[in-house]
């Protein structure tokens, strides 16, 4: 039994199943983060006093993290084009995909891990100074929102690592389907990136 349109686009809708599926998933994710941002707006709007955010959090660290994540979106995008522009696998060195693809994918994963490392350092700094989620609602929102975001990042890193590792099998049998998965992973990663930029602006700068 074959399910139609897993790789080829359906002529009258112009998309294939995974592309439509990932966009729908992302729309739901936007509603999730949108709800969290709304909660932030409502709580901050109703608060008598609000801490000076940029003095509580470290703007330079946040900025570095923003740069890392933007860069990782670039590397993942380049990885996808490297994959798409390579000829279909005929054996030999191409068995694991083009070399540039593997390097760019690995760089994406490492950049993601670096982001998480800095994030963990930041959290630890706060906790060590007794600034915990229950201290005030700003810190509560900070930990919750960056925590949900970090969980999304962990998920993305695991998927990317799987796709670069055991998931590569699909490249040898159905290269187009494999490229489709990378394309979906990239869309997800871009969303996580965009959400972070919004978090950085709202939590660190505003």
């Amino acid at each position: 039994m074959d399910i139609p349109y897993t790789t080829a686009a359906r002529p009258d809708t112009g998309v294939n199943n995974p592309t439509l599926g990932i966009w729908l998933f992302l729309s739901s994710e936007i509603m999730l983060f949108g709800s969290l941002f709304s909660a932030y707006a409502l709580i901050r709007g109703g608060a008598d006093q609000w801490p000076d955010q940029s003095s509580v959090l470290s703007v330079p660290l946040g900025a570095i993290n923003t740069a890392l994540l933007v860069l990782s979106s670039v590397t993942l995008g380049r990885a996808l084009s490297a994959l798409r522009s390579s000829t279909h696998p005929t054996g030999g060195a191409d068995l694991y995909g083009p070399r540039s693809y593997r390097l760019l994918m690995a760089a994406t994963i490492l950049l993601g891990l670096a982001f998480l490392g800095i994030k963990a350092f930041e959290w630890n700094e706060k906790l060590a100074h007794g600034l915990v989620p229950s201290t005030n609602n700003f810190l509560g929102l900070y930990f919750t929102m960056t925590g949900v975001h970090a969980a999304h990042l962990v998920g993305g890193i695991l998927v990317n690592a799987y796709l670069l590792g055991p998931g590569m099998r699909l490249w040898r049998t159905e290269p187009e389907r494999y490229a489709g998965r990378i394309a979906a992973a990239r869309l997800y990663w871009n969303l996580v990136d965009v959400v972070w930029i919004a978090l950085f602006v709202v939590l660190y700068v505003m």
Partner: protein
Amino acid sequence: MFRKYLFSTDHKVIGLQYALTSLVFLLLGFILILLIRWQLAYPGAPVPVVGPWLGEANAPGGVILPEFYNQLAAMHGTIMVFLGVVPLAVGAFGNYVTPLQLGAPDMAFPRLNMASYWVYFTGGVIMLASFFVPGGAANSGWTSYPPLADIATSGQTWWLAGILLLSISSLLGSVNMITTIVQLRAPGLTWFRLPFFVWSQLVTAFLLLLAFPALQAAALLQGMDRLAGTSFFLPSGLVVSGRALSVAGGGSALLWQHLFWFLAHPEVYVLILPAMGIVAEVIANNTRKSLWGYRLMVYSIFVLGFLSFAVWAHHMFLTGMGTAVSAFFQATTLIISIPSVVVLSALVLSLYGGSIRFTVPMLFALAFLPMFGLGGLSGLPLGLAPSDIALHDTLYVVGHFHYLVAPGTIFALFAGIYYWYPKITGRMMNSTLGAIHFAGSLVCMNLIFMPMFIQGLGGVNRRLWDGGQQYAHAQELARLNIPMSHASWALALFQLFFIVNLFGSLKFGRRATTNPWHATTLEWTATDSPPLAHGNFATPPRVYRDAYEYSVPGAAADFTPQNEQAGS
């Protein structure tokens, strides 16, 4: 074996898994309310028969404690909505029927489908397990309003965990459903040839996809309040049991209500839309006519879907959110009643001039129309802020939404079960047992829910452990609880006819032909009953005509299948 029945990726097996699990949950939610009905009719009297099994902590000597009553009420709502009706309407019917009506070999993402069921199942198990933790299950109502829910016993944390899983399950399911409907329609099955049931599933899936994340976020925030000591929903200066709560404060209890109802109002339409879809199928089939105003109905449910995101705060007129906000939500609420009335009117008009076959599914579908109408019309006074101020939190509200969901949606679900049973099993359900089940349920449900309007108009509040007897104004009206409760137990007895029929017909039911109802849609005309195990169709069907070509003048029979070529 495991792959075939337990961890199957076949949409039909997953649909049946959803069906059985959600029916068990419906029964369970029903049993909880039977206990509540005992307490309301005879407050403080020990529960007969099952009393000793309820546990000393819950019901010493069989007498239901107020704390346990709160658990029963909160979990009745939670189980019925999140674990019973929606999974049956969307998970079971959506999963089983939609790909067959589309002429598709399966759902677009079969493994995601399996994951969706098992996440739902785990969420359900967590909800049930919460009855056995210290302090029992969640007891702050199915709406889990803080600050109460923030400081409630640990069952509330389990409730939040369960809700998170259920929202993940519904996310996976709705992505799958939309992709399937958009991408896997058979050749020739253009948008306006889709059966109305498919449209209803499409709009429902969009509501689940975009509304549930709000509750997900809310559940995360409440989880932080409960576990990490944040005060997102706790205002400053809160006093609990005479002592000031030692939290940072500064939060907003209203925030929870906004996030909760942003999900829960669209969720109301998630309960209703698939029911409308099922009723439309059954009515077209049993009037032997095409639906009156099919396109109008499709447009209406789209309007319904969009507007359902803009009415949520009509649940909050009494919160002091301000008259301007109230006026806005009152206006949208009255506007949303228009498409609902259009759909209902179209269904009623579809009956006109038909030669109606009074089959069991049709009986349920016919009863759905006035019952749903009653539920909808009784909602109008609640949508208007001035009258809602008097009626809010009374039994009138309980009567209103139970008319929509019980003799409304659940009747439609019964109609669907009787209608598609031969498709699933290859056998018919017994129609005598079905008619008894129908008549008994219809009478009993009205005996239970109609007096609630009277009690509510008399000012009796809901969620009262003694049914309101401590209030002078409720003394007279509380007496109605006795016949209401007797009707609820009679309702339970009539469900036995259904249960016997459901399982007995597997063995003793009359063998069904492939298309016993002489229907036109693909699930009946392009594959056997029961359908092929994998892939559904021996040859992929092709569609040549609209969904409901019944009684077409000049046609060979009074129905023309969608996959029948012109001139053949």
